[in-house]
């Protein structure tokens, strides 16, 4: 026995401690993995020992290995053992390891609950501290529920060290267990006035985070925060409070008015000094005030604008002030300041575009910056700064960048931005769609982009919606189909070959505009096409059929029936390649069409006219459908979607499921309670669940006949009366047109318009205002004066009758902050009456059927 002990201690002398481990790893750079696996074996041995010091050492080493990337979850139980040691050193190591590797899936977390509870009530504040710190990293809903009350009591601990930690950890607890918010909130409010500044700022932090997500519940605290803001000198706290006000002001306009005064003071006093000092001292923290102040100013002036129609003179001044300061930031040579200036500007842009537009030159300069983040920010800003006038030149600049850009992510970003800018609000800013199509075609020359589908969808969109442009678009697409380089480009999904998808479809659908459908048909059926991705080939095949119909129409009736027969022959020769394709869709379509063409050929040989019937295959226009149209289809009269289709299952089945719930403690109680409930509630709940399921199930066939209406022409489409346009651009453009010539043409056109208008105006003026002297009317052209070059006949998306567009189904149902959205004013604060509080909590807990908390109070 004694020998064992001695042997044990000798072994322990040779244990590696952390330093040895680190040194060892650094010395074994070549065979690190092998060395580490030997170490892990040693650690496993050490963990089997009884000695807690040895275990703690082992766990410490494991933590280090975890940081290097090795998984240590197999040692979870040992970590819990070490956590439960009474010595602070080992406890600390245990908690550290736990905070690094425990997560919600760790089974042994349940074992820690009591240990943590003991530590929380320990007389040693550092024990408590370390427990709180560790807990914050791995708190789970169960832990939160069980420990919420202990932590709440700790908020009123005598030592501020503990109070601080307890306040901060409550935020995590709230996230995991939202029901704890209501009882904890009064105490939290008290902490805002805690004498210790650390606790105070912790409370401010927590409330700010909570209020950011659910601001309306915290409006009542506004006066308190106002007082804090004006009295506090701690910058960190100030920043948080200002951020909080940023969230509150949209809801309470009077608050906005009150804030303007102190905020303007702040800006003047702090910012002027800070910006000056910053470049000298780089005191970043003070500059950190900028962003939240800007946000608040924006909200404030917004709120004020809404509440007072006769604007206050001050608010626009404060916005101007902000924008001025931001300009100084952006012009600074420090990259960080530039970035932040741009960021803040984009926030202002959303509500006050005019004040930002004057700085367009600066933004365009930033586009040339070497730093990618800054360029991206500038791009974002541009998005809001476009107008009909400058869209073309901005896009031209961006295209230059696209050519110069290194790195495909940036190029992709540019591409997306260009398309976003152009397609904003239903193409509001585009005056010349031919120019836009040529831009899209130029973009197809980009290699290696992941956004081929974007370009493709844009082409499709424009071609469908803007009827006047179809001829031009079709000509362009035909050229694209002919061009070899796209076929040899990369074939990955979403690569640039997606454009061919759009090209083929457009040519097929609007084939009446094609000059030489035979040529295009031939291009579509080349053998090389078979190397494209499956979905593109399918479109090719389908549209080849459409083109075939057009060709037949063209040639039949004329004496040129040979051409028609040649076409059929061509199809019969080329389609078998597609019939053998590996892709199901392609195969299916190709074989259908092949058969069809064979029949047609037979008919042709008998000299029967088939063109009409073949065209009838593709008759009818396809209009775009709104994305939420299906949901808005009204349920017709007399149809009850909730009626059972079959007999409901009998009650005896639900009885059989009871025995399975034996092992969970709370479940039997709940299921018993449910049986006592009236049956109707159960049915109502099931009905709701079923409705939800049906709404989400794409295969569920709704029996309403009105769903057919959605796909037809008539309702919901607004036609702007077509005005005769005089096109200054010839429709047939040889070769690929450069978009620059459009720029020039556009300029000429606008000048011409302006000249015409001036002549008209002068005549009017001479008639009306004689003797009043010439008035200068050549001010900046307003947006409405610029008439688009082509009549934009934008077909709006179809919706079922009387359906309203709504946007409220996008919220994420799993957001924990949604659960925290409770009205705190309803809860009656009674800090003095603890008995009342206890009763309320008990009732609250009982209502939930949660036994553990009630038990807690009885202890």
């Amino acid at each position: 026995m004694a020998l064992k002990i001695v042997k044990g201690s000798i072994d322990r002398m040779f244990d590696k401690n952390l330093q040895d481990l680190v040194r060892g790893i650094r010395n074994h750079k070549e065979d690190e993995a092998k060395y580490i696996s030997t170490c892990i074996d040693e650690i496993k041995q050490e963990l089997k020992q009884d000695n807690i010091a040895v275990k703690a050492n082992a766990v410490c080493k494991l933590t280090y290995l975890q940081m290097l990337g090795y998984d240590i979850s197999w040692a979870a139980f040992n970590i819990v053992e070490v956590m439960s040691s009474s010595k602070f050193t080992y406890k600390r190591i245990g908690y550290l390891a736990a905070s690094q590797c425990f997560h919600e899936g760790t089974d042994v977390i349940m074992l820690t609950t009591n240990q943590i509870r003991k530590d929380l009530s320990s007389p040693n504040q550092y024990d408590t501290g370390v427990a709180l710190t560790g807990l914050s990293c791995f708190v789970t809903p169960d832990l939160a529920r069980d420990l919420a009350n202990d932590i709440m009591t700790l908020m009123s601990h005598t030592k501020p060290y503990i109070r601080k930690k307890a306040v901060l950890i409550m935020y995590k607890v709230f996230l995991k267990y939202p029901e704890s918010l209501r009882p904890a909130f009064p105490r939290l409010k008290e902490k805002l006035e805690d004498p210790d500044p650390g606790v105070q700022s912790a409370a401010v932090n927590v409330i700010c985070e909570l209020a950011r997500r659910n601001p309306k519940n915290y409006l009542s605290l506004a006066p308190l925060f106002f007082k804090l803001m004006t009295s506090s000198t701690n910058n960190w706290v100030l920043i948080k409070i200002i951020k909080l006000f940023g969230a509150l002001t949209p809801l309470e306009p009077r608050l906005g008015k009150k804030l303007i005064e102190p905020l303007t003071n702040l800006i003047h006093s702090r910012l002027v000094i800070t910006l000056h000092r910053a470049s000298v001292e780089k005191n970043v923290c003070l500059i950190g005030l900028v962003l939240p102040i800007v946000c608040v100013c924006v909200c404030v002036s917004n709120a004020v604008l809404i509440s007072l129609s006769s604007g206050m003179p001050n608010h626009s001044a404060s916005i101007q002030l902000c924008v001025q300061k931001l300009r100084i930031l952006i012009e600074d040579s420090d990259q960080n300041l530039k970035y932040l200036g741009l960021l803040a500007m984009s926030k202002i842009l959303k509500t006050h575009p005019k004040s930002v537009q004057s700085h367009k030159d600066l933004i365009l300069q930033c586009l040339d910056d070497k730093d990618e983040s800054i360029r991206l920010r500038a791009l974002d800003l541009l998005y809001g700064m476009v107008s009909k006038k400058n869209l073309m030149e901005i896009v031209k600049k961006l295209m230059l960048h696209v050519d110069k850009a290194e790195g495909t992510t940036y190029r992709d970003e540019l591409l997306t931005k260009i398309i976003d800018i152009c397609s904003q609000s239903n193409y509001q800013y585009i005056t010349n769609f031919e120019w836009y199509i040529s831009i899209l075609v130029e973009l197809t020359r980009l290699e290696g982009t992941r956004h081929g589908h974007l370009i493709a969808s844009q082409m499709l969109d424009v071609a469908i919606r803007v009827k006047a442009i179809r001829g031009f678009a079709v000509a362009q697409m035909a050229m694209l189909l002919d061009s070899g380089h796209l076929l040899t480009g990369n074939m990955q999904r979403n690569g640039i070959c997606e454009v061919l998808y759009a090209a083929a479809w457009i040519c097929g659908e609007f084939s009446e505009h094609l000059d030489d459908p035979m040529q295009t048909l031939e291009a579509m059926l080349r053998p090389k096409v078979a190397s494209l991705p499956g979905h593109i080939q399918a479109v090719y095949v389908q549209n080849a059929a459409k083109l075939f119909a057009t060709v037949l129409q063209k040639h039949e009736g004329a004496t040129d029936s040979q051409a028609a027969q040649d076409t059929s022959q061509l199809l019969i020769e080329r389609l078998p390649l597609f019939v053998q394709s590996a892709n199901l869709e392609v195969q299916e379509r190709a074989s259908c069409i092949l058969q069809l063409v064979k029949y047609i050929q037979k008919l042709q040989q008998k000299d029967v006219e088939v063109a009409e019937e073949v065209s009838a295959l593709f008759a009818g226009e396809l209009n775009p459908v709104a994305p939420k149209a299906q949901k808005k289809v009204p349920v017709p009269e007399g149809l009850d979607l909730d009626a059972w289709i079959n007999e409901p299952p009998s009650e005896s089945e639900s009885e059989d499921e009871k025995p399975k719930a034996v092992f969970a403690k709370e479940e039997p109680k709940q299921s018993r309670a449910r049986h006592i409930e009236v049956d109707e509630k159960e049915l109502a709940r099931r009905r709701e669940a079923r409705k939800q399921e049906q709404a989400n199930n794409p295969f569920y066939i709704k029996s309403s006949p009105s769903s057919q209406k959605v796909y037809q022409d008539a309702p919901g489409v607004e036609h702007i009366p077509v005005v005769q346009i005089d096109l200054s651009v010839p429709l047939k453009v040889p070769g690929m047109p450069m978009s620059e010539q459009y720029l020039k043409l556009e300029e000429e056109r606008r000048q011409k318009e302006r000249a015409d208008k001036k002549k008209k105006d002068k005549k009017k003026k001479k008639r009306e205002k004689r003797g009043k002297g010439k008035r200068d009317d050549s001010g900046p052209e307003s947006e409405e004066d610029i008439t688009p070059a082509h009549q934009v006949d934008i077909v709006t998306e179809e919706m079922p009758e009387n359906a309203l567009p709504s946007d409220d189904d996008d919220k994420d149902p799993n957001d924990p902050h949604k659960a925290l959205d409770i009205d705190l004013d309803k809860y009656v604060p009674s800090a003095e009456n603890t008995l009342h509080k206890v009763t309320v909590c008990m009732l609250h807990a009982e209502k939930q059927g949660d036994l553990s908390i009630t038990r807690h109070f009885l202890v």
């Binding site: 690094q100 710190t133 601080k164 930690k165 950190g288 962003l291 960080n336």
Partner: protein, 153 residues
């Protein structure tokens, strides 16, 4: 804050602190990608970048990169300040801290971080208080260590 990573110029991880629960695999993936992205940036570039749906704030001190991930609404400059504060704390504690200090005393680095940040928020903005708390905890450790410094319990 969602997480904080410290890594060297060669991409070796020196410290990682996660304030959101994630599985091990995800953590490793995020770490790998982020380290690559940050190391690829040139020295003159600004300290902020957007990555996935988070904002990343990073700063290089000697051979170590301090990198924090914050949410959209959080203030970037405050995060820079937090990083700076942390470095100052380490400096005060270790006395002219260098990367080796953090390598060999990584658990102390963690303890200091834990005193400074809790749940991703700044706990204590006064440097003095943080250092005082750490010193006291250390003393406590020394005392208990002294008492229990036998091999066999």
């Amino acid at each position: 804050m969602q997480f904080m990573l410290l890594f060297s110029r060669q991409g070796k991880l020196r410290l990682q602190k996660w304030y959101v629960p994630l599985s091990d695999k995800e953590k490793k993936k995020i770490t790998r990608e982020l380290v690559q992205t940050v190391l690829a940036r040139k020295p003159k570039m600004c300290s902020f970048l957007e990555w996935r749906d988070l904002k990343i704030v990073y700063k290089r001190y000697a051979s170590l990169y301090f990198c924090c991930a914050i949410e959209d609404q959080d203030n970037e400059l405050i995060t820079l300040e937090i990083i700076h504060r942390y470095v100052e704390l380490l400096d005060k504690y270790f006395g002219s801290v260098c990367e080796l200090d953090i390598i060999f005393n990584f658990e102390k680095a963690y303890f200091i971080l834990d005193e400074f940040l809790l749940g991703g928020e700044a706990q204590e903005t006064s440097k003095k208080n943080v250092l005082k708390a750490i010193e006291q905890a250390d003393l406590l450790q020394e005392v208990s260590h002294h008492e229990g410094s036998r091999f066999v319990d």
